[in-house]
Symmetry: C2
Subunit: 309 residues, 2 copies
């Protein structure tokens, strides 16, 4: 048997070296190097080319190299019999929370505005919003979303969250369903998208929904690029419905140089950097799942083929 | 008797109108309008001209219109018999904390760097620091400093504070004295100055002290402009000892257009906007102190002539 790593974007050098120290009796190949197809049983995968996994007839398990798995389900035709796992990094939740708090405070304390004033040597005070006067709403109350929402609430932000079902999270008002979504959006100053990408969440950040937000609301997208209808966002920003948007994820990454987002004065771009998977944490889970695969046990952080997350 | 308002910078129109509704039987003058000097007993003051208060022989109390009083002690020769009070706004502490958290997270999550990359359409990830790996030190543990330090600590930042005497604040390691200062600085990633301006704190942000900070530390000055030796800061930034500085207060405000701080790539300027006194809160304390003055009672939030705060 062997392990194959297929990763389009992530730098896998550190990972491969570390993995070879932990798993000594199994060959580890890195795509596209020449690999005997029949012996590949465990694939570690990040944004592989379409249908590439069909080339490995004896595949027994697929491990995503990050928190997301939609890059697998969207491009590969996988038998329900092959388990798929994702990385769950507890530090990822903490990092995501810190990043989202930074982006939110940055906005309500007008720091981008002061930066643009500094360029013009302009001294002008502006009223700021406070934590207690800023209602934050989180789309998606999975592991990371629940953690983030609970933290915003505990710090004093009026906090709401939307999910497929009702959730009990301290300091967080829970909404669900289509009517719950509209109700929540209508009382939102800062909307944070942390949904997984599925058929039913794709394009959820569209004009119909975003126009429900309080006038001058602020959008933060740290889910996936495909959650957002880019043209709808541009229209709402230009018409003043939204005051600004902070985007960490995009349909195409890196964001192409000629994309209109780069130069838009109300759009703040970060390069998919909200939280970066810690290599030690990833390594532990990959090694554990290698052993579980060999023993035909359920994987750690295995996802549902049906739900897609 | 009468009340006189002397304010160089603050817009007093709203205050005067509100005050006239609360104190109906005493004339309220606004400098420089013609005022019978003998009847002035209560002065509300913000950055008055030098020695102007000597013109009022029957002055019984001085109320600063903000949290600081050094603008009074530095420019006026006041008998120890005349009590001086400042405004203590509980929301000011909360606002200051939120501003300092915004500025700190903004820095450790590289948001200014991503902004400058966006201008160049550059997609490049950078490692970020986390809350638990960022040691924050607060200079000054008065009302606002203690509150801010306790909050940084509670959120998970390793937090230290320096003051004239040892303080007991949950989550905060307390330092005092000259040797305590050096010890604290040597283990500091983010230094926040919240000291009052006195003879012994003037110029405390100098090369000798700042060079003790951990290499690449970040300085935030929300105390007073005169705490900082500007040339020392520029030298330390240019030599790479400090990674950046966020300044909200300056020797001269507004900061003159030709000042080198405006264009320095490692300096972030905000226009003395960290926390703005709430007019309702100020009004209440001013009215209360007016009544106390009339009854010869100690003032609310009275300061020490000797200490200067």
């Amino acid at each position: 048997m062997s392990i194959l790593i297929i990763s389009k974007q992530k730098n896998t050098k550190l990972l491969v070296n570390a993995l070879r120290k932990k798993i000594r009796n199994t060959p580890i190949y890195v795509y596209p190097e020449d690999t005997p197809k029949e012996i590949v049983e465990y694939v570690l995968c990040w944004k592989a080319e379409k249908d590439i996994l069909q080339n490995f007839p004896n595949l027994k398990a697929i491990q995503s190299l990050g928190a997301g798995v939609e890059h697998i389900f969207d491009t590969q035709n996988i038998s329900q019999k092959i388990p798929v796992a994702r990385i769950v990094d507890p530090q990822l939740s903490e990092d995501m929370w810190e990043f989202l708090l930074a982006i939110t405070l940055n906005h309500i304390k007008n720091l981008p505005l002061y930066h643009s004033q500094q360029v013009k040597q302009e001294w002008q005070q502006h009223a700021y919003k406070t934590i207690k006067s800023t209602t934050v709403s989180i789309l998606g109350l999975g592991k990371i979303g629940s953690f983030v929402a609970g933290n915003f609430g505990a710090l004093g932000f009026p906090t709401q969250g939307w999910s497929t079902s009702k959730k009990e999270i301290k300091f967080v008002k829970s909404y669900f369903g289509e009517s719950g979504l509209i109700k929540m959006l209508q009382n939102t100053d800062v909307l944070i998208n942390l949904l997984p990408l599925t058929n039913s969440t794709k394009g959820i950040l569209n004009k119909k929904n975003l126009i429900q937000l309080k006038k001058g609301a602020f959008l933060i997208n740290v889910g996936r690029g495909a959650h957002l209808l880019e043209k709808d966002l541009l229209k709402l920003l230009d018409a003043g419905y939204l005051s600004a948007a902070a985007l960490d994820v995009f349909n195409q990454e890196p964001l192409p140089p000629d994309h209109p987002f780069w130069k838009h004065p109300k759009i703040r771009i970060t390069p998919h950097n909200a939280s970066l998977t810690n290599i030690e944490t990833a390594l532990e889970q990959i090694v554990e799942n290698y052993h579980r695969m060999k023993k035909n046990q359920p994987l750690l952080n295995q996802v549902s083929h049906k739900k897609g997350y």
